[in-house]
Structure formats: C-alpha cells, structure tokens
C-alpha cells in the first residue's frame, strides 16, 4: 500500500457540552482507510465509534459539540486533500453524496418517506452528477438492480414504507452508491436485520467494494460481522483506539487485554467449569468515566497501580498499534 490513504484521521478529539459540563467521548483517535479496503471500527456502547463516524461526515450536533483536536484528512478525487475536521458546511455538502456516502442502522434516517425510492436516487444523481431526468431515472433503476432488488423497474415506484426492512436497507445502499462514492461510511448497517438478511447485505457491501474500489469505514458492535467483512480492525474502548491490526492477527493473537477479554466473553468461547457447565468469561464491571490513566484499567485483570495513574501511549509493533502499558508482559 504505497499510495496515501483515502481517509486519515489523526489524533481526533470530540468534545460535548452538557449540563454537567464538558465531556470528551473521542480522545486522540487515529485511524486510516485505504481505497478498496474495509476498516472496521468495533466497540461497545459509549466507545466513541459512532461519534467518530459523525465527525468524519460533518454531522456532529453543532450546538453541543465540537472537534477539539486533530485532523480528518480526506484525499479527494481531484487529488487534493480536505481536512474534514475544519471544512466549511458548503465543502462538506459537496463531498457528502458526491464522494463520501453514509449508510445507517435505520434506513429511514436517510430515506425520504414522501418520495418514491426511484425519485430519491434520481434526485441525488441529478444534483451530484448533473444527469438529466431520463438518465437519472435509468440510473435509479440500474442502482436498485445493482443492490439485487428484484423487479427493480417496478420497485423504483415504491415508497420506503412499502418495503421490508431488508429491502429498505438495500434501497438506502443503492442511494448511497448512486454517485459512485470513493468512501462509504457504514454505521451498524445490518444491526436491525435478521441474520439471513444480514448475510446478504454484508455480501452486497463487500461485492460493491470489490467492484468499485471504494474504501469502507464499517462501524459495528458485532465481532462476528467484523470477522466477516473487515480487512483491518480498530478496537475502541471509552473513546480511544486501544488496538488496531489486520483482521487475522487481531482475532488470532489479540494483544490488548480488552481485545482479548472481548473475544473471550463471546458465547462461542464458553468454557466448562468444574461442574461441567458451560460458562462465559465476562469482563467485570462496566464502562466507567475515565479519570486518569488507562480507560480500561478499572476492568482489567492485568492492571497495576500505574495503569490507573498514567495514560498509556500507542505503541506500534509489526503492523499493529496497542495502547497498553503491559501488553508485552501479559501477551
């Protein structure tokens, strides 16, 4: 991978103002997405994964939040670089849709309930690609067929509420893909779907990536989905990247105690206890507000006194990064 990454997030922090004062749910996050690569961001609630994706899309709530540090460099089609952390609203609007597309867990957040799905796609390509009416309509049908919606020409006249959950998800993907995005941000796009439909949608996203060479930033809480779709994985905990690695090394030899604990508490990794009962290895406690030191220390079985006092820096090793004082001792 010699060329510069498509998306490079460097030391990103996002601060929210609330009644109780300021909080920083994303602290010093760095990650990059290359063209033709799926970078999965995995974490539990409150890990900062969705706030990070909103920051990239310029969709953070303006009244209550700000990017308080770092940069989000996006390499545009014209070869120039935009810093999305500091881009104007006008520039963000041009990039969203034309170069960067987003899909969500709930398709109705991006579909308009009063327009047919065909009209919505046609409108997007007229706006962003300058297509005329006839061409835009043909493009809509072509996109619906691309996402494997049967009888696409007829379904283009359906309103979103006429469609099943799985079909709506496909329609949203068709809309997102209609302007040939270079970067797709997928925030829990299959979480609300049944597993047999989820399998179809994951396969579809991966096929579209291979065919178009787009980069995908895929946000999920589901390690099974990560194993299925990712090339590279960043594990988030309490607002920080704690480990980032290629998929296979991450699953086969996780280095950070949190990554290991997260994999170990999955039902598929249950162990037998002395009564021959299958039990899980939960992570004790729950996510706690970070005061000082390592955010995971309060729940980490390997934590020492200094883990609670000194925040660990990211350490690089062999194509991966780990944020832990003790990873070499405990690995």
């Amino acid at each position: 991978m010699e060329s510069a990454p498509l998306l490079e997030i460097t030391d990103l922090s996002v601060t929210f103002r609330g009644e109780a004062g300021e909080s920083t749910p994303v602290r010093g996050v760095s990650l990059s997405v290359n063209a033709n690569e799926t970078h999965a961001v995995v974490g539990e609630s409150g890990s900062g994964k969705s706030v990070t994706s909103l920051a990239v899309m310029g969709l953070l709530p303006k009244a209550s939040s700000r990017i308080s540090g770092g940069a989000i460099r996006y390499r545009r089609r014209d070869g120039l670089t935009s810093d999305l952390a500091h881009a104007s609203d006008g520039e963000m609007r041009r990039l969203r849709g034309a170069e960067i597309a987003m899909i969500f867990q709930e398709p109705m957040t991006s579909l308009n309930p009063v327009l047919t799905i065909g009209e919505q796609i046609a409108e997007a390509v007229r706006l962003h690609l300058g297509y005329d009416r006839a061409r835009a309509k043909a493009r809509a049908v072509e996109m619906l067929a691309l996402v494997e919606i049967p009888d696409a020409a007829r379904r283009a006249d359906d309103y979103p509420h006429h469609m099943s959950g799985g079909m709506r998800q496909r329609a949203m993907i068709a809309l997102a893909m209609s302007c040939n995005p270079a970067l797709l941000i997928a925030d829990e796009p299959t979480t609300a779907l049944d597993v047999t439909i989820q399998a179809q949608v994951l396969k579809l996203i991966d096929r579209l990536r291979l065919e178009t060479g787009m980069g995908v930033l895929f946000i999920t809480h589901n390690l099974g989905v990560v194993a299925e779709i990712a090339n590279r994985v960043s594990v988030f905990y309490a607002g920080e990247v704690v480990e980032s690695a290629e998929k296979r090394p991450l699953f086969h030899a996780p280095r950070h105690p949190y990554t290991r604990a997260l994999l170990d508490c999955l039902p598929a990794r249950a162990k037998r206890d002395e009564n021959n009962r299958r039990i899980l290895n939960p992570i004790p406690g729950q996510v706690a507000p970070v005061k000082a030191g390592c955010g995971f220390a309060p729940r980490c079985v390997h934590a020492r006194a200094w883990c609670h006092e000194v925040a660990p820096a990211l350490e690089a090793e062999d194509g991966r990064v780990i944020r832990c004082h003790r990873w070499q001792e405990v690995a």
Binding site: Q198, A199, A227, E228, P267, P282, Q286
Partner: protein, 326 residues
C-alpha cells in the same frame, strides 16, 4: 434426556398451540400448531428470525395473550381456558424476564417497590420480612441490598436486567420465560447476565424458555432447541444435535448465516436468497419452501410433519445428506 422423556412429566406442554391476529382476509397466523414441552429444570431455547412466532409463543404460554386454538398444560392441568382467578397459582409459578430493561421497570418506583409489587401480588413475605427478602433477592442477582432505595435510571442496562431477574424470581417460580434477555446489552455485560442466569437456573432448579434470535446464545444456554419459521416448528431436539447435525434446510441456513467471530471459519455458501414471505399470505405446504434450495413440487402441496428418531425431530419432506458445519 431419555430418562426425562420416559419418567418425568413435562412442567409445561403445548398441544396444537395456535394464535392468529387480525380478522377477515387479513389474518396473520403468528403461531400454528406448535407442540412443545419443557421439563422441570430444563432450558428450552426458541430460536428464529422476525415473524417466526417465538415471542408470541412466550406470551401464549404465560397466558399474557389467549390462544386461538390448542391447549397449554402446566403441571398436568390445562390452563388454556381457565379464568384469571383460577390462574392465580400459575401466575406465581411462571414468570417473565423481558428484553428491554429500560422499558420493563417502572421509572417512578424505587427498586424496593418494583420487587415488592411482585411479592404483594401473591401475599408473600409481608411485614418485616419483606425488606429482608428484597435484600436477599438483590444479592442473589449480584447487586448490593442497598440498591433497593434507588430508581431504575440510576442503574446501567446490565444492572437493570439483574433487577428484572430479581423481580421474576421474587415469587419463587418454577418456570421463567426470558424473551431476548440479553439482546439489548453489550457483549461484555451480556456475558455477565448469561452466567448469572445459568447459575440461578442450577441453584434454584428453574425451568426456562429462552427466546432469542442469537443462535450462539441459545446454544450456550439450552438443553433443547426448537427452531421456528413463520409460526411453525421446523426442527427441535437436543441443543448439541441441532447445532452439530441440523436436519432441516432452514436450520442449516440459519447456522450458515450467523456471523462467527473467527476470520477462518468455514463459511458455508448457503446465503439464503429472498426474504420472509408476507405472513398475511404464507406459502402453501411447507412455509419455508419459497426460500429453500431443496424445494420440490411436493413441498407446495403438503405441510411436512415433524419426524425423526428419538428426541431430534424435523419438518421436511426430504432426508438431506448429513452436513458437516465444521
């Protein structure tokens, strides 16, 4: 397993259990002709996707909704048609744990009142013993007794689910119906709650109907599993057999589609095509046939009956070659 089948009486049994919603030509047959049994101390897992009828079955067996047809037998007595007054002893013996620990606890009541309500409803632990009992219940689910003075919003999702479990256990039930009890929780917390449920189940000798869309969770927790699709049982049997040697094409598809947290897992390229048919007009014959890679003419004509050897039974016209899923 065989011992149970031969000697023990089921704690709960359904016979031809059916429930339709709607009227006229807009009728959804949410549950059709379901025969299930739960033995004392046993966990029966119900797994299936949306529209499979699994949650409706849970509500039917607790008589939270009324069946359209069929019978429900608890400890040898039919509870399907009896009055609410006569149902009172059953209400104490069978309790529910809900999916959403945020919606299922009254935000205006403190924990003492939430659990106390369940005790009061059955006239249990009156007077001075009430607080002691509530404290014991909280400690049993891994919360301090001091939690009783706090309100639901002061707890995390996992802690609220513990409170929901304590409330269900307050009246010393024999059967718990748990509907997606961990699907709203993060995996690290999910593991805590699943371990708690396992421990309590063994300690208290509880029987459980565990309803979940997550095959891994169901397989971990259950002695036996029933796989549902569009309101009907496709396959049922001992959990290990269902997962290791599934006989029904739908069960195989479900296993193949379930994401595995292993980048090198053998991915069986079944990837079920199509979507769930409209429950308003389910397919004739076998309800799964429109998505089944093995469907033949007979599948449209005849509803397959559950068949098979011993406890492992499946509803398919064909005997598919055994399949190894690695």
């Amino acid at each position: 397993m065989d011992d149970k089948e031969n000697f023990a009486r089921p704690l709960l049994e359904t016979r031809g259990l059916s429930r339709a919603f709607g009227a006229g030509n807009r009728v959804v047959r949410a549950v059709q002709d379901v025969d299930l049994a739960v033995y004392p101390g046993e966990v029966l897992g119900l797994v299936g996707e949306s529209g499979s009828g699994k949650s409706t079955i849970g509500r039917l067996v607790l008589r939270l909704i009324e069946p359209s047809a069929g019978d429900i037998v608890f400890e040898g007595e039919s509870i399907a048609g009896i009055s609410e007054r006569k149902l009172k002893p059953f209400r104490r013996k069978a309790q529910m744990v809900f999916q959403d620990p945020f919606a299922s606890l009254n935000p205006r009541l403190d924990v003492e009142a939430i659990i106390g309500e369940a005790l009061d409803a059955h006239g249990l632990y009156r007077g001075a013993r009430r607080r002691a009992r509530i404290g014991d219940l909280l400690e049993m689910v891994g919360l301090p007794a001091s939690a009783m003075g706090r309100y639901p919003h002061e707890f995390s999702g996992g802690q609220r689910q513990r409170i929901g479990i304590a409330r269900a256990l307050a009246v010393e039930p024999k059967l718990i119906v748990a509907d997606e009890p961990v699907s709203a929780l993060d995996v690290s917390v999910q593991a805590q709650v699943l371990n708690l449920m396992q421990e309590l189940r063994h300690r208290l000798g509880l029987a459980m109907i565990l309803i979940s869309h997550d095959l891994d969770v169901v397989e971990l927790m259950s002695d036996r599993i029933a796989v549902l699709y569009l309101g009907r049982i496709m396959e049922q049997g001992p959990a290990a057999d269902i997962v290791a040697a599934p006989r029904h094409p739908y069960t195989r598809a479900l296993i193949a589609a379930s994401p595995k947290a292993d980048p090198d897992a053998t991915r069986v390229p079944v990837a079920l095509t199509g979507e769930l048919p409209s429950p308003l007009s389910p397919p004739s014959g076998c309800v799964f046939r429109t998505r089944c890679p093995h469907a033949q003419a007979v599948c449209a004509d005849q509803v397959p009956v559950l068949r098979g050897e011993g406890a492992h039974r499946f509803a398919c016209h064909f005997d598919l070659a055994p399949q190894s899923l690695g």
